[in-house]
């Protein structure tokens, strides 16, 4: 259904259309919170009314990867759950983004041991890394805004 070649490749019309589609995608993210550990508490407090996530349009968590576009990997990933994380990532449809929430997902955190995956970027591609143990909600919101800027910069596929 490739609309971009139909409109003539890269020209004024497609860049405007890019901007509109990027605007609509970044302000209506459907996160899939893949929560395993303590960072889940910070995710809950970011979603609540004090540090509202709804004003960014990302309030509605979809608990199935088929309907989600943002995979929020929250909390420590051990070697046993790593294949499941990969399966969940593969089940999401394009366009999809991944946020590594918390330092355990960025680099393994302070679990430098045999059981923890030392950073989920060894398994799936990550767009934004939010460090912190757990990160302050303001940090999470800054990470989300960085992701929104990234979406705005991307060449949208349509």
């Amino acid at each position: 259904m490739a609309l971009r070649p139909m409109l003539g490749g890269d020209n004024f019309l497609t860049t405007r259309l890019d901007k509109v589609i990027a605007w609509s995608r970044k302000f209506s993210l459907f996160p899939y919170p893949f929560v395993t550990a303590c960072c889940g508490m910070e995710y809950m407090s970011v979603s609540s009314s004090h540090y509202d996530l709804d004003r960014f349009g990302a309030a509605f968590p979809r608990f199935t990867p088929r309907q989600a576009d943002l995979l929020l990997v929250v909390g420590t990933i051990s070697h046993k759950i790593a294949p499941i994380l990969k399966l969940v990532y593969d089940q999401m449809c394009e366009p999809k983004w991944v946020i590594a929430f918390g330092v355990c997902t960025c680099t393994g955190g302070f679990y430098d041991n045999y059981a923890t995956v030392q950073g989920i970027d060894t398994i799936i591609p990550v767009d934004v890394y939010i460090p912190g143990c757990p990160p302050r909600p303001e940090t999470v919101l800054q990470g989300l805004m960085l992701l929104q800027e990234k979406i705005a910069r991307q060449k949208q596929d349509y």
């Binding site: 070697h79 046993k80 430098d112 041991n113 045999y114 995956v117 030392q118 060894t122 398994i123």
Partner: protein, 166 residues
Amino acid sequence: MSSIFDPVDNKTLKAIKEKFGDAVLEAGLDKGDLVAIVTAGSLHDIIAFLRDTPELDFNMLADLFGVDYLPRKPRFEVVYSLHCIERNERIRLRVQLNEKKCEMDTVTDLYPVANWLEREAWDMFGVVFRGHPNLKRLLMYEPFDGHPLRRDYPINKRQPLIGPKN
């Protein structure tokens, strides 16, 4: 006999010493808890005796875990904690195992909870339980190489499946 434990006059320890004689290597009080060190071959019978005798009636296996005392020979120990609910009495049975011959009989037929407890001891230390219905890894994933809670396993040794190499 000069024992590493304090002597105590206790019905349970007397009963197992009298029935099993030299299978019980040491018995007594260790900082206030009843302990007995027994041989690996007799452990299943001792636990069956403790569970089935009506006066003793140890009906709960509270815990089962392994210990690694690396420079000491015998290297491994498996510790069983039994609890009698009616009399509120606990006893600890310790079995010492060599590194070469790290096997013993399972107690899953006596206490079904031992199924997962023994799987964890196998996964973390490498103690083989003969007769266990499903001796697979419990906490680590299947192709994991090694037994993590042994003392000579370096804590941040990487496994080949995911992530950076050693």
